[in-house]
Amino acid sequence: MGYPTTIDGILGIWTALALMLFVYSYPLYKENQLFRFAEHFFIGLSLAIAAIIAIQTTIRLAITPLMAGKFYYIIPILLGFMMYFILHRDYRWISRYPIAILVGSSIGLGMRGTIIPNILSQIISTITPPKAGADALSWFNFVYIGIGTILAVMYFLLTFEHKGPLLYPTRLGRWIIMIGLGAYYGNTVLFRMAMLSGRAQFLLQVLGLVPF
């Protein structure tokens, strides 16, 4: 993609640049009217786009089947409108029914969806040894992950005070967690800085200092 040549293209990238500078005026300078302008612009825009997507989804999932003869689809539509009673103090309790369906299905799906991937698969991966003929590093990694996971899980035994026989295992578990968080945080720092350098690159591209 080269530098835009049409009027709307050029206007587009300069608008994007101006909005970006308005937003970054907050961390680079202090809170100001231009920042608040861009902030409210983004909130209004995001709300409108979210509302459009919500309406599209409602039409596709509820209105279309209703028109096709599935008349019971009037029930979720009515339940959806019942959510709006949350805004009225006296009739707020009506909104509890759609919330009950949302919570029930979310918790039900969450509970059934968490057992295999987040508990069983993790335990199986932890206790599965390397294949025969694996090098010493693979065995070291296997032992580190196995013992490390047990120790780190012990750190979350919150029903017992971490003293006596639990003192050293839980302390080691905390160190294992610190190593994990350090690596995770290192990745996060790099990712955020990469995002910021992407914005800096956009600034230079709009100014014509580096190619698009």
Binding site: P27, F81, W93, I101, T149
Partner: protein
């Protein structure tokens, strides 16, 4: 009677739906599977309609600011409402494919996408100072955090290999192996937490969703 309709029936409905979802997972009963499938669709419909409720609520708050002429705020609120109404109107010109409207597409590409990236990247300004505070070796815990973080960062930066050729290798170990026990632990304990939370909801002990304080 009012108490039953307002509270007890709601807890019972939640519990029944949780049970239907669980039975659908553990047993092959066609009738239950059909009900569970419909309930999933209904939940999606309700949640998408709840999204517009969020929009309505924000517009209510900002309308109040405009009506009261809140100093230093009301014109920003008016601007927010105008943008919301304008973009919504553009979207309604072709609700199934709003991008077919060139003005909508222009705003989406040049304002929404760009601002989205800008907001996401703004943390880059703060993460350097946050990293400085987090990566101070005040005790063994912080030192381990520092060592793992530094090696992972230097692994990805070209200067890491220039300093010492083994740095990328050590960084890769922290990335691929070193953090595995912690991440695996987070998954396992979060899963157990979710199960406990689910059972509390099933028993009607967890009532925060309904605007009530969670029961003991």
């Amino acid at each position: 009677m009012a108490e039953v309709v307002r509270r007890e029936a709601v807890y019972a409905l939640t519990a029944i739906i949780v049970v239907i979802m669980m039975v659908d997972f553990f047993f092959t009963i066609p009738a239950i599977s059909a009900i569970a499938g419909e309930l999933r669709t209904w939940a999606t419909i309700i949640s998408t309609m709840a999204l517009t409720l969020g929009a309505v609520n924000i517009i209510r708050v900002h309308s109040r600011n405009v009506r009261r002429r809140a100093p230093g705020v009301w014109y920003h609120s008016a601007w927010l409402i105008f943008i919301f109404a304008f973009v919504l109107l553009l979207g309604f010109t072709d609700i199934n494919n709003p991008s077919s409207n060139p003005v909508y597409k222009w705003i989406f590409d040049n304002a929404y996408v760009s601002l989205g990236q800008t907001w996401y990247a703004i943390t880059g300004f703060y993460i350097a100072s946050a990293a400085y505070r987090a990566f101070r070796a005040r005790n063994i815990d912080a030192a381990l955090l520092l060592i793992a973080g530094i090696f992972v960062m230097l692994m990805n930066a070209p200067i890491g290999e220039v300093i010492w050729v083994q740095i990328p290798r050590i960084g890769r170990w922290f990335n691929d192996v070193g953090q595995v026990p912690a991440m695996r632990t987070f998954l396992i304990v979060a899963a157990f937490g979710l199960l406990a939370f689910g059972f509390r909801t099933l028993l009607g002990r967890e009532r925060g969703f309904y605007g009530e304080v969670a029961g003991g």
